[in-house]
C-alpha cells in the first residue's frame, strides 16, 4: 500500500489529522511531475493542471483505491491546495524577478511554469483566499479546485459532495467576494 493510499484510508476512517499529512506528499509529487513535464515536452507545451493532478493521483494512489470517490475527493482537495502553492510561488518569484531580486533562486529552480499574462494577480488572490478561508472555507476549496486545479464546476461539486447547483451558488459568492476584496485592496 502506498503512503498516500494509507493516509486516504485513515482519513476515511475518521482520522482528521491524516489530511494534513497528505498535502506535502501531493505537493512534492506535483512539483516533480511538473519539472519532468517541462524537461520532456516540446517547448511551448504547457502543463495542464487537471492532467497533472490526475497523473499524480494515478502515481500516488493504489489502483484498487481508484474507485473510491471519497478518496478521490480528499486527494483532489489536497492537490488543489498544492497547485495553488506552486502557481502562487511561481507568480511571487516572477514578481521578484521583475523587480530585480532573487535571480539566483529562479535560475536554480527547475520548476518554471511559463507565466505570460495571467488575468488575475495570483499573489493578491492568494492573500484574499486566506482571508476568505476564515469566513467561508468551502468557497475557498471550490475556488482552489476550479481555478487552480482546473476542475469544472460539476467535477468540483462532486469532490466537495454538494450538488452542482449549490456549487454554482457558492462559486458566485466566492467569486464576487474575491473580486470585491481584490478591488478594495487595489483602492487602498
Amino acid at each position: 500500500m502506498t503512503e498516500v493510499t494509507n493516509i486516504l484510508s485513515k482519513i476515511r476512517e475518521g482520522d482528521g489529522a491524516a489530511a494534513d499529512q497528505l498535502l506535502p506528499l501531493v505537493y512534492d509529487e506535483l512539483r516533480k511531475l511538473a519539472a519532468l513535464k517541462m524537461s520532456l515536452e516540446h517547448p511551448g507545451q504547457t502543463i495542464e493542471a487537471t492532467a497533472l493532478v490526475h497523473e499524480a493521483y494515478l502515481r500516488l494512489v493504489d489502483g484498487n483505491e481508484h474507485r473510491n470517490w471519497d478518496s478521490r475527493g480528499h486527494f483532489f482537495a489536497a492537490a488543489a491546495t498544492a497547485m495553488r502553492r506552486i502557481l502562487v510561488d511561481n507568480a511571487r518569484r516572477k514578481k521578484r524577478v521583475k523587480h530585480g531580486g532573487d535571480f539566483q533562486r529562479l535560475a536554480s529552480d527547475n520548476v518554471e511554469l511559463a507565466a505570460p499574462e495571467i488575468r488575475e494577480d495570483l499573489v493578491a488572490l492568494d492573500l484574499a483566499l486566506d482571508r476568505l478561508k476564515s469566513i467561508d472555507p468551502a468557497a475557498v476549496e471550490l475556488v482552489q479546485l476550479r481555478y487552480f486545479a482546473g476542475l469544472s464546476i460539476a467535477e468540483a461539486a462532486a469532490v466537495l459532495g454538494v450538488s452542482p447547483r449549490s456549487a454554482d451558488r457558492l462559486w458566485a459568492y466566492g467569486r464576487a467576494w474575491l473580486r470585491t476584496e481584490l478591488s478594495e485592496s487595489e483602492d487602498r
Binding site: 511551448g44 507545451q45 504547457t46 502543463i47 495542464e48 493542471a49 487537471t50 497533472l52 497547485m83 502557481l87 511554469l113 511559463a114 507565466a115 505570460p116 499574462e117 495571467i118 488575468r119 488575475e120 495570483l122 469566513i135 467561508d136 468557497a139 475556488v143 476550479r146 481555478y147 487552480f148 486545479a149 482546473g150 469544472s152 464546476i153 460539476a154 454554482d168 451558488r169 462559486w171 458566485a172 459568492y173 467569486r175 464576487a176 467576494w177 474575491l178 473580486r179 470585491t180 478591488s183
Partner: protein, 779 residues
C-alpha cells in the same frame, strides 16, 4: 442570515428593485451589511473573466496563441481581409506612391507592399490627389486597410458617386490562375445580389486590370477586434448582434448563397448610435481555399468556426453557416472560440468530434436558454440544427424582447417543425393537474406564477409543439391563454397542440374550500431523475431535452389546513394522537411481513406491479403497483415500518382501502406519504397526510416539508384512530389531522409503488391494534 445567504437570496431575484427592497427588509438597521451585500452583487454583475479560466488554462492558451501567430499568420489571415481593423492600418503604402509607382520590393509587411510589388505595372493610374496612392478607374485609392491570403482591401474614394468605398483586389498570383479568377468573380457576383442592411453591399465587380470588387466602406471595427479588446459581451449585446448576424445570413441564404466562413473577423461592427452588424466576405472562402493551395497546401481560414461537414469536406448547405454562427455566439458569450487546439488539424478533429466546453463552466452566469440555443446551433448533424437562419433570428428577437420586457427570459421552447396530429381524449382522473409535455427538442420551461390562489404559469413555446396533457384531478381546469385570449382548456387527459406563441396557463379548482398549496413543473429525464421548478421557490429555468417527460402538478390543501411543521420538533408531542391511541391499542406489535415471503400480502391481478422479497426486504422497483394486506378489516391501528427509498422515489402507505384495481387516482383511502428528494409539489414530503377519492383524486390534508435522506433507512409510523390520523418519523410527530367527514372507516392497508423510477424497500412492517380486535365493527 449571514452575508452569503443574503447575497444568494438576493441573487435569485432578477429585478434590481426587488433586490433592493428585499435587502432593506432583510438587513433591517444593519446598513453596513446591506452595503456589503450590494457591493458583492455589483461585483457579481460585473462582466469580465475574473477567475473564469483556470490559471493553467490561461497559461496554455497564451502559449498556443503566441505559437499560432508566430507560425501560422498566413492561413490565419487568409480570409480575414474584409475591413479588418483589428490589424493596424499603416498608411505607408501611399506616401511614396502618389504617382502610381509601387513601393519597392523589400518593404515587406502588412502595408500592402508585397501586394503592390506583385501587381502588374500600370494597373493604377497616376492621381492628382495628394492623399491618393493611385487611381483605379473612377476610384482614388487612399490606403491599404486589410491584407489577406487571397486579396487586399483598399480604401478608396469613388469620384463619380463621391463616396468612400472599399475595394477588394484579388491577389495577382491568384488572378493568374483561371479557376481561382473565375470563382472569385462568380462568387462576388452572387454576393453582389444580396442587398441587406446586415450585409456589406457590393457595388461593382470588375475583371480587369486585376479582378476586384467594390463595396460599401464600413467605418468601425470587427467583432474579433471588439472581443479581443473587451472580452465577453453581455447577454443583451449577444442577442442584439446575434440577431443581426442571423438576419444577414438569412438574406444571403434566401439568395441561395452560403457564406462558408462566418467568424468574428468577418463581422464588421459599424459605429453609430448602436453598433450595427455588417457581414462581409460572402462566399469568398472558396477563393481563399484556392489561395491556400497556391501557398502552403493547408486549409484556408481559421477552422475554429467551420461546421463539421465543412471540416470533413462534405457537401454543404446553408446550415453550415448556422454552426459557425453558433461558434461566433459562443465566442461572444465566453470570449473564446469553442474549438481550440494547437494546430489546424487538431481543431478540425475537435470540430468534428468534440462537444465544446460548457459555456457555463467558463462563465456561470450565461443563462441556460442561451446555452440551449448555442447547443442547438452546434449540433454535429445539420438536420438537428435550426432549420434556417430566419428561425434563429426570430428566436433571438423573441428572447431579446422578453429580456427587455421582463428583465429575464422566462422560457424558450423548442423550435420544432414536426407537427403532431392532435389527439384529444378525455379520461377523468384525479391528483391535482398533471400535464405531460412531449418535448421533441431542447427547450426551457419556467414557472413564473405569482398569484397564490390562481397561479399563472407562463410558458413560452416557439414553433409547433405537441403537449401531452394529463389532468388527473377531474375537476381542476387548466386554461391556456395566448396574448390574453383563451385558446385551449383542459380538464381531461390528452394532448394539446400549441403553435408558436407565449402562453399563460391558469389553474382553477371549482371547490372553494381548496387552495393551491404549490405547483410543480417536473421534468423526468431518461434515467427518471427528476428536475423541477416550484411555485413556492423563486423562478428558475427548467431545461428540457429530447426524450424528457414533463409533468405539471398542482397540490391542493383545504383552506383551513395548518402550515406544515418545519422540522422535527420534540415539543409538540402533547398534541399527539398517541395520547388517544395508547389506551385504546394493545402493546403487542404484530408483524405484517415475515422477512421471507409475501404471505399475508397480495397484489391486484390486474396490476401486479413489481413487489418481491429481496435479501429479506420487501422490495418494489420497476412496474408500478400496490401491495395489499390480505386482511381487510383494519380500522384503528398504529403501524410502524422501517423503509428506505431512492432519490426521486414516490411511495406511501394507504390505509382503509378496498381491494380494487388502482386507477390514476390511486386507491381511495388515507395516505401517509413517503418520498425522498423533491419529486412533487411542495408539502408532499414524507409524512404528509393525503386523501384520495375515486372521482376527486389526491388531496393533501396535512403537508410535510421534511426531506429525508435518499436510500437511508427511516422509521415511519402511521396512526389512525377514528377520523384522526397522525404520521411520525423516527419517533417524532410530523403531521396530525382530523377528517370531519371520515371518508374511510375500514379496509386494507396497501403499500404504494406508483412510479417506475421508484425503488422502495421495507424491512419491518408491524401494527398494534385495539385490544378487542373487532370492537369497531358496525360503527
Amino acid at each position: 442570515m449571514n452575508e452569503r445567504e443574503l447575497f444568494l437570496s438576493a441573487l435569485e431575484l432578477s429585478d434590481t428593485i426587488a433586490r433592493q427592497s428585499y435587502l432593506r427588509s432583510a438587513c433591517g438597521d444593519d446598513l453596513e451589511l446591506m452595503r456589503r451585500v450590494e457591493t458583492l452583487l455589483a461585483a457579481h454583475e460585473q462582466t469580465g473573466e475574473f477567475l473564469d479560466a483556470p490559471v493553467a488554462e490561461q497559461l496554455a492558451t497564451a502559449q498556443a496563441d503566441s505559437q499560432t501567430t508566430a507560425q501560422a499568420s498566413a492561413p490565419a489571415s487568409a480570409t480575414a481581409a474584409g475591413l479588418d481593423s483589428s490589424r493596424p492600418r499603416p498608411r505607408s503604402a501611399k506616401t511614396e506612391a502618389t504617382t502610381g509607382e509601387f513601393p519597392k520590393a523589400g518593404d515587406a509587411g502588412r502595408d500592402g507592399s508585397e501586394f503592390f510589388a506583385a501587381c502588374p505595372p500600370n494597373w493604377l493610374q497616376p492621381s492628382s490627389r495628394a492623399d491618393s496612392i493611385g487611381r483605379l478607374g473612377q476610384y482614388e485609392i487612399l490606403e491599404v486597410v486589410g491584407q489577406g491570403g487571397f486579396g487586399t482591401v483598399l480604401k478608396a474614394f469613388d469620384t463619380k458617386l463621391q463616396r468612400v468605398v472599399a475595394i477588394k483586389v484579388l491577389n495577382p498570383e491568384l488572378a493568374a490562375m483561371s479557376p481561382a479568377r473565375k470563382r472569385f468573380l462568380r462568387e462576388a457576383r452572387a454576393a453582389a445580389a444580396i442587398r441587406h442592411e446586415n450585409v456589406v453591399s457590393i457595388y461593382a465587380v470588375e475583371e480587369s486590370p486585376l479582378p476586384h470588387l467594390v463595396m460599401e466602406y464600413v467605418p468601425g471595427e470587427t467583432l474579433q477586434h471588439r472581443l479581443d479588446n473587451q472580452g465577453p459581451l453581455s447577454v443583451g449585446d449577444v442577442l442584439r448582434l446575434g440577431k443581426q448576424i442571423a438576419d444577414g445570413l438569412a438574406a444571403a441564404h434566401a439568395g441561395q448563397l452560403i457564406h462558408r466562413d462566418v467568424k468574428p473577423a468577418n463581422i464588421l461592427l459599424e459605429t453609430g448610435v448602436d453598433d450595427h452588424v455588417k457581414i462581409t466576405d460572402f462566399g469568398l472562402a472558396r477563393t481563399a481555399n484556392d489561395a491556400s493551395l497556391t501557398q502552403s497546401g493547408t486549409i484556408a481560414g481559421t477552422p475554429s468556426y467551420m461546421a463539421p461537414e465543412q471540416a470533413l469536406g462534405l457537401k454543404l448547405d446553408q446550415r453550415a453557416d448556422l454552426f459557425s454562427l453558433g461558434s461566433v455566439l459562443y465566442q461572444m458569450l465566453t470570449g473564446r472560440p469553442p474549438f481550440r487546439a494547437a494546430n489546424a488539424l487538431a481543431i478540425l478533429r475537435r470540430v468534428t468530434e468534440d462537444v465544446p466546453r460548457p459555456m457555463q463552466d467558463i462563465i456561470p452566469d450565461i443563462p441556460d436558454w442561451l446555452c440551449q440555443i448555442v447547443g442547438r446551433l452546434h449540433e454535429k448533424k445539420p438536420e438537428n440544427r435550426f432549420a434556417s437562419a430566419r428561425e434563429v433570428s426570430e428566436l433571438l428577437a423573441r428572447c431579446q424582447s422578453e429580456l427587455q420586457a421582463s428583465g429575464n427570459v422566462v422560457a424558450i421552447g423548442p423550435v420544432d417543425t414536426r407537427v403532431q396530429p392532435s389527439k384529444k381524449t378525455s379520461a377523468r382522473r384525479g391528483f391535482g393537474v398533471i400535464a405531460k409535455l412531449a418535448v421533441a427538442t431542447a427547450g426551457v420551461l419556467v414557472l413564473a406564477a405569482t398569484l397564490w390562489l390562481m397561479p399563472v404559469l407562463r410558458l413560452i413555446w416557439h414553433g409547433q409543439a405537441s403537449v401531452d396533457f394529463l389532468n388527473r384531478s377531474g375537476e381542476t381546469r387548466v386554461e391556456f391563454f395566448a396574448d390574453g385570449q383563451l385558446v385551449d382548456t383542459q380538464v381531461g387527459y390528452g394532448e394539446v397542440d400549441l403553435p408558436a406563441g407565449n402562453y399563460e396557463l391558469r389553474v382553477h379548482h371549482p371547490d372553494p374550500k381548496l387552495r393551491i398549496y404549490d405547483v410543480a413543473l417536473i421534468r423526468l429525464d431518461w434515467l427518471h431523475r427528476p428536475h423541477q421548478v416550484n411555485l413556492s421557490s423563486p423562478p428558475q429555468n427548467l431545461r428540457l431535452r429530447a426524450g424528457d417527460r414533463v409533468q405539471l402538478m398542482v397540490a391542493y390543501v383545504e383552506k383551513e389546513t395548518t402550515e406544515p411543521l418545519p422540522s422535527i420538533d420534540t415539543g409538540v408531542d402533547d398534541r399527539s394522537l398517541l395520547a388517544v391511541a395508547d389506551p385504546l391499542l394493545t402493546d403487542q406489535w404484530v408483524e405484517l411481513f415475515n422477512g421471507e415471503d409475501l404471505s399475508g400480502w397480495e397484489t391486484h391481478p390486474e396490476e401486479t406491479g413489481s413487489w418481491h422479497v429481496e435479501n429479506g426486504l420487501m422490495t418494489a422497483a420497476g412496474s408500478p403497483g400496490y401491495l395489499f394486506t390480505t386482511r381487510d378489516d383494519f380500522t384503528d391501528f398504529h403501524l410502524r415500518c422501517d423503509v428506505r427509498i431512492n432519490a426521486g422515489g414516490d411511495s406511501g402507505i394507504i390505509a382503509r382501502v378496498p381491494f380494487e384495481r388502482p386507477t390514476k387516482n390511486g386507491l381511495p383511502g388515507y395516505e401517509a406519504q413517503l418520498q425522498a428528494g423533491t419529486v412533487l409539489a411542495a408539502g408532499w414530503q414524507t409524512g404528509a397526510i393525503a386523501v384520495s377519492q375515486r372521482d376527486r383524486g389526491w388531496r393533501m390534508l396535512q403537508p410535510s416539508s421534511l426531506a429525508i435522506e435518499p436510500d437511508n433507512w427511516v422509521t415511519l409510523e402511521f396512526i389512525a384512530i377514528g377520523n384522526r390520523m397522525e404520521t411520525r418519523l423516527s419517533g417524532q410527530l410530523i403531521a396530525t389531522h382530523v377528517d370531519p367527514q371520515q371518508l374511510f372507516a375500514r379496509g386494507r392497508i396497501a403499500l404504494q409503488h406508483s412510479a417506475s423510477g421508484t425503488r422502495v424497500q421495507f424491512r419491518r412492517v408491524e401494527v398494534r391494534l385495539p385490544a378487542k380486535p373487532h370492537s369497531g365493527e358496525g360503527e
